[in-house]
């Protein structure tokens, strides 16, 4: 699939809703000891939503980069690389506390249940993103076409041609 701007936005949201959210819910369910815990689930969901949001903002940039390539394509390797860049940027900002809705420990206050500035968060957030990233990236390699047969001709957009 060679993405168009609309295709990028739609596919990103589709994968966030149908892969990202369910995988995150399963992840926090196990993390919380096989039970539902809103206070653990929310930071991870917001974290993933922030990455998705940053991705939506970057998509026009990617499309611009595509127009400088003769084939106006986007190699799978770039997709792979920039997915981790998006994660890295959001996570780095979260650790410094610059993203208000992602909790970090503040001196003199009770530390939050999920503290993005803690060392434990490095492993957990990476694990979480890896679990989301693997199925979404694999889906882009072709399996989505088995459900949306026109998707590859529409540059990643859904619906008819």
């Amino acid at each position: 699939m060679i993405p168009t701007l609309a295709g990028r936005l739609q596919t990103r949201l589709l994968l966030f809703i149908f892969v990202g959210i369910p995988v995150t819910l399963a992840f926090v369910f196990i993390l919380a000891g096989w039970k539902w815990d809103y206070d653990i689930a929310m930071p991870f969901l917001l974290f993933l939503a922030t990455i998705t949001g940053l991705g939506l903002l970057l998509d026009p940039v990617y499309i611009f980069l595509q127009t400088t390539r003769w084939d106006r394509d986007w190699p799978f390797a770039y997709q792979f690389f920039f997915s981790w860049v998006e994660f890295g940027v959001v996570f780095a900002l979260a650790r410094t506390g610059l993203i208000p809705w992602l909790p970090v420990a503040v001196e003199g206050q009770q530390p939050p249940l999920v503290d993005f500035s803690s060392n434990a968060a490095i492993g957990l957030a990476t694990l979480h993103f890896t679990l989301v990233f693997i199925p979404t990236f694999l889906a882009l390699l072709g399996p989505l076409q088995t459900i949306f047969v026109r998707w590859r001709f529409k540059g990643g957009q859904l619906g008819k041609l």
């Binding site: 699939m1 060679i2 595509q66 003769w70 399996p143 949306f148």
Partner: protein, 669 residues
């Protein structure tokens, strides 16, 4: 039993495909063989650049009348299909470039033998061309399908039935029988149409036979790789899993997966092996019941019917039936045309060389025609061999690689690579901000169009563009390119260093035969090149292999020419860039809508769609590719769904996924 004299009507065909001048009658009084060609000692000498000296023979016995191609360059066609030797039936049209011969019915009486259209012709010239002085169109027509079709743009079903020819009614009929037909039928089947509602008509048993022939001739045997993507699978409408993954499953290796991951920037683009593509098509053909739907026949004509359908006239090809029993009609609601390259035309200087010097025919070849003997001879020869390879496309790359392989057997083979002009690293084609890569004076592109023409932003932009803008984009994005393959680059670089490969720049100004320098020494070919510096460089070569490609001209297909004339169908046009903006050039493909419908053939509920090279210049750039055929198929079948007239069910996410699981498990759709 054949009654003599046997009569042929001979007509000359102009470059536009229309007949010119008076028609003539060829009378053959007795059994025998009559040579037709440009040579003066032919029994029937015919003029024309594209006619070979010994082009074909008419072989007449008391049992049958045959036509036999005598190894002509441009081939002998019977009703539009290239033949080697073929028994003729009354009304069959034999064509060679510029000429059309029609086998007429025997005259009713001795007296009328030499009367055509009531005009007496000179009967002393038997077995020779007899020129009638009659300017009105000759009355002798091919009986089928002209009795029902001629001069009509609409026929009634009753008239077809009354003709006595078998009439079959189906919903969907694919005309062509090649890859384009197969992909369209595959979509119909996967959308849920039963095989019993579909017929495909073509002369080949196997849908990829013609494609495979072109591959073999251009030195891509089944184990070599094509220029195609992993996910472009003509046997799988979903394109997943791709050929790279299939190779892993078959134990060929995992390299392809990493290529797909990094292509085209971090690794060379993955491409599938020809044999794997054909094998997968065999499997899909069996799954969808292709052989039950296929009618092995030639399509002779198509007309609208008065009840909003189409009558397709066809003649069974091979098989048991004889004579009139071979002529049949199919009446279909929806017709799909994908007839491929109608006939091949070579570039002019090459064409005139082979017609002027037929004795040197073995010294030159177009890369798409059989020329394996050149490599065999070059490998056998115990001495120097010089080969001129002309052109810089993907075919030239492969031919040079083949010659490099031949060097293992005869290290004295030298390659002279003739290209029009050098292309520097910054001279690649430009489209807005992007510039095409150049390596070793050849423009590099993974596939024959920029990738986003298939499904990215260029597809959308091109589809939405007006006719002139499309023409401009086609010019900017098209052009001759080759794939970036390290082995090909290495051949050019090592060959240049070691002196057995040399690029030569300039226009070929003259080709002429080179007489043999001595006994046991073979003939050669002299290639004169006006170099870019203004010099004349003369290359004395043993062989010339022309890799500049084929020219498609849809009017060369009698079937399409008849459709164009009968329904006055509009065509797409090429546009040439000039200083004062784009200028309209010659006609290209059949005009069709963005859904690949040919609007001029719409007939109340009836619909005709097209695909493949006959739609060149239309709503999609890469029509002549595996993925392009799938694109046009999905567009046209979706159009049927949207219109909801012919009860084609939609392929939504759930049905699509279910269909795919059936494909994966090899169950019928």
């Amino acid at each position: 039993m054949i009654r003599f004299p046997v009569r042929f009507r001979v007509r000359q065909i102009g470059i536009d495909g229309n007949t010119m001048g008076n028609s003539r009658i060829l009378l053959c009084e007795e059994p025998g063989e009559f040579l037709i060609g440009k040579s003066e000692d032919s029994d029937v000498p015919l003029t024309g650049d594209a006619v070979s000296r010994r082009h074909m023979s008419l072989v007449l016995t008391t049992e049958d009348v045959r036509v036999r191609d005598e190894g002509s360059t441009n081939g002998t066609y019977v009703n539009g299909t290239r033949v080697g030797e073929q028994v003729l039936e009354l009304g069959d049209q034999v064509s060679i470039p510029g000429w059309l011969l029609e086998l007429l019915a025997p005259a009713e009486s001795e007296a009328s033998q030499t009367r055509i259209a009531g005009v007496e012709v000179d009967a002393s010239l038997v077995s020779r061309l007899v020129i009638t002085d009659d300017t009105s169109p000759p009355p002798a027509r091919r009986n089928f399908p002209e009795m029902e079709f001629a001069d009509k743009d609409m026929v009634g079903i009753e008239a077809l039935r009354a003709s006595g020819h078998p009439v079959e009614e189906v919903k969907f009929c694919a005309v062509g029988g090649g890859l384009g037909s197969f992909v369209w039928v595959d979509h119909l089947r996967c959308y849920g149409i039963p095989a019993s509602d579909i017929r495909a008509i073509g002369t080949e048993e196997v849908c990829y036979r013609t494609y495979q022939r072109y591959c073999k001739n251009s030195q891509i045997p089944d184990h070599e790789r094509l220029r195609s993507n992993s996910l472009s699978r003509p046997d799988n409408i979903w394109g997943f899993p791709g050929y790279a993954m299939r190779e892993v499953g078959k134990g060929i290796g995992v390299k392809g997966i990493f290529q797909v991951f990094g292509e085209p920037t971090l690794s060379e683009s993955y491409t599938p092996r020809a044999g794997d593509v054909f094998e997968s098509l065999d499997i899909e053909a069996k799954r969808i019941g292709w052989s039950d739907m296929l009618i092995k026949a030639q399509v002779l004509g198509l007309r609208k019917t008065s009840d909003g359908r189409y009558a397709v006239a066809y003649k069974l090809w091979g098989g048991e039936a004889h004579g009139e029993a071979r002529n049949r009609y199919i009446v279909a609601d929806v017709v799909h045309l994908s007839t491929g390259y109608p006939a091949t035309r070579f570039v002019d200087d090459f064409q005139s060389f082979i017609t002027s010097y037929p004795d040197s025919r073995a010294q030159v070849a177009n890369a798409y025609e059989p020329h394996d003997q050149m490599y065999a001879e070059a490998e056998r020869r115990n001495g120097p061999v010089q080969v001129v390879v002309r052109g810089r496309g993907i075919v030239a790359s492969r031919i040079i690689q083949r010659l490099h392989e031949a060097r293992a057997k005869n290290p004295q083979i030298r390659i002279l690579h003739s290209m029009r002009s050098p292309i520097g690293p910054r001279d690649g084609a430009v489209f807005r901000k992007a510039r095409r890569l150049v390596r070793n004076n050849v423009e590099i592109q993974p596939f024959n169009w920029p990738k986003s023409c298939w499904g990215g932003d260029l597809r959308v932009e091109y589809e939405n563009a007006g006719e002139e803008e499309r023409g401009v984009m086609l010019n900017q994005l098209g052009g001759t390119t080759t794939a970036e393959r390290s082995d090909w680059i290495a051949i050019a670089e090592r060959g240049s260093e070691e002196g057995w490969y040399r690029p030569v720049y300039g226009n070929i100004s003259n080709l002429k035969p080179l007489p043999s320098p001595g006994p046991d020494q073979p003939d050669g070919v002299q290639v004169s090149i006006s170099t870019t510096e203004g010099n004349e460089e003369v290359l004395n070569a043993d062989y010339l292999i022309d890799c500049t490609g084929l020219i498609a001209d849809i009017r060369r297909s009698p079937f399409l020419a008849d459709l164009l004339d009968t329904y006055k169908l509009p065509r797409n046009h090429a546009y040439r860039p000039t200083d004062s903006g784009p200028q309209k050039g010659g006609p290209t493909g059949l005009r069709c809508t963005n859904d690949f419908e040919i609007e001029g053939l719409r007939n109340s509920n009836g619909r005709v769609y097209a695909a493949g090279t006959i739609t060149t210049g239309g709503p999609y750039l890469a029509v002549d590719s595996f993925l392009g055929l799938q694109y046009s198929a999905i567009r046209s079948v979706d159009h049927l769904v949207t219109e909801n007239i012919h009860k084609v069910p939609n392929l939504g996410p759930l049905r699509s996924f279910r269909g795919w699981t059936k494909w994966m498990t090899g169950r019928q759709p």
